[in-house]
Symmetry: C2
Subunit: 153 residues, 2 copies
DNA sequence: ATCAATTAAATTGCACACAATTAAATTGAC
DNA sequence: GTCAATTTAATTGTGTGCAATTTAATTGAT
């Protein structure tokens, strides 16, 4: 009685959104065996990537490229601090901002992490060119979704 | 000192994984204005899609295509029940399985939901063909990630 | 028929993610 | 200089998502 044969646009597996959603989770699961030995979750790994690119950033500087706010980052950063990879200290010039810096352990960790992207590439079973092209398309889609949301104000 | 110029493979924005991850969140945010009026979250919407395709499914039947287990689904389904869209009743033949069925309100809701995919397509700013092609590539990537995880046992 | 696997959900504990509110510091208009 | 906006994090509350354990029901080997 509640058939969907007449509304194929509602089929779960037709929806690109679900493809992106479930592939994101598959990525997190695929990263897990690589990140567990480093005592990092995937979101924590993303923060570490940013700090390895540029040490000493504020919470909002880290949040901007990740599209995350302090509600998510504050507890995550406290866990990274507890693990011993980062320091959290107030900026002396502006006591509002929290400066995030790498500890020695956090800097050393980078050496163990450099091989992960290559290992993940093998897991994906794609060439570098294919990955770059697909990544570009997915990024463009993400930008379209975010810019449209902004146009609604 | 902690420069990453020599390790571009660690740049956040080179990583397809982050593109997929952040686009998934952008999707959830873009769906929100469409789903709020229906009193649904995005994961709840996915469950409703499955039930609109085929009413009367067990928790594990719903979980298989979504890659979710009872740990996630049980509380989610209880919320859908509290909202009044589904019934949760034990199977009479096998008291272990919980049968999920649509209420009248849940069936009626489908009419309000059919327009969402089309509205989202406009938000994405892509043709149907482009969306289908990209969806196919992303799905294939997700399958590769999951099958490799399975080969590790 | 009985009891050890097996199966299906539920539960518990931890870690995001986001909206909304709060708190503290800074800036700026006057 | 003072006080109202603004800015930066932190906090609170809700909702996933997943691993690991628990509970209850069923199956199967004997």
């Amino acid at each position: 009685m509640s058939e969907t044969r007449e509304t194929p646009e509602l089929w779960l597996h037709n929806q690109i959104c679900f493809a992106v959603h479930s592939t994101a989770h598959a990525f997190t699961a695929a990263y897990k065996p690589h990140l567990d030995p480093l005592n990092l979750t995937y979101p924590q790994y993303l923060v570490m990537l940013l700090l390895w690119e540029k040490d000493d950033q504020s919470v909002s500087e880290l949040g901007k490229p990740l599209f995350l706010d302090s509600g998510t980052l504050t507890p995550l950063l406290k866990r990274l601090q507890a693990t011993g990879y980062i320091n959290r200290t107030r900026d002396h010039n502006d006591e509002r901002v929290m400066r995030i810096t790498l500890t020695d352990a956090g800097k050393t960790l980078k050496q163990k992490a450099v091989c992960i992207p290559h290992e993940m590439l093998e897991t994906m079973g794609m060439s570098v060119e294919q990955v770059m092209a697909l990544g570009q398309d997915v990024r463009k889609l993400g930008q379209a979704l975010r810019s449209d949301a902004g146009s609604r104000s």
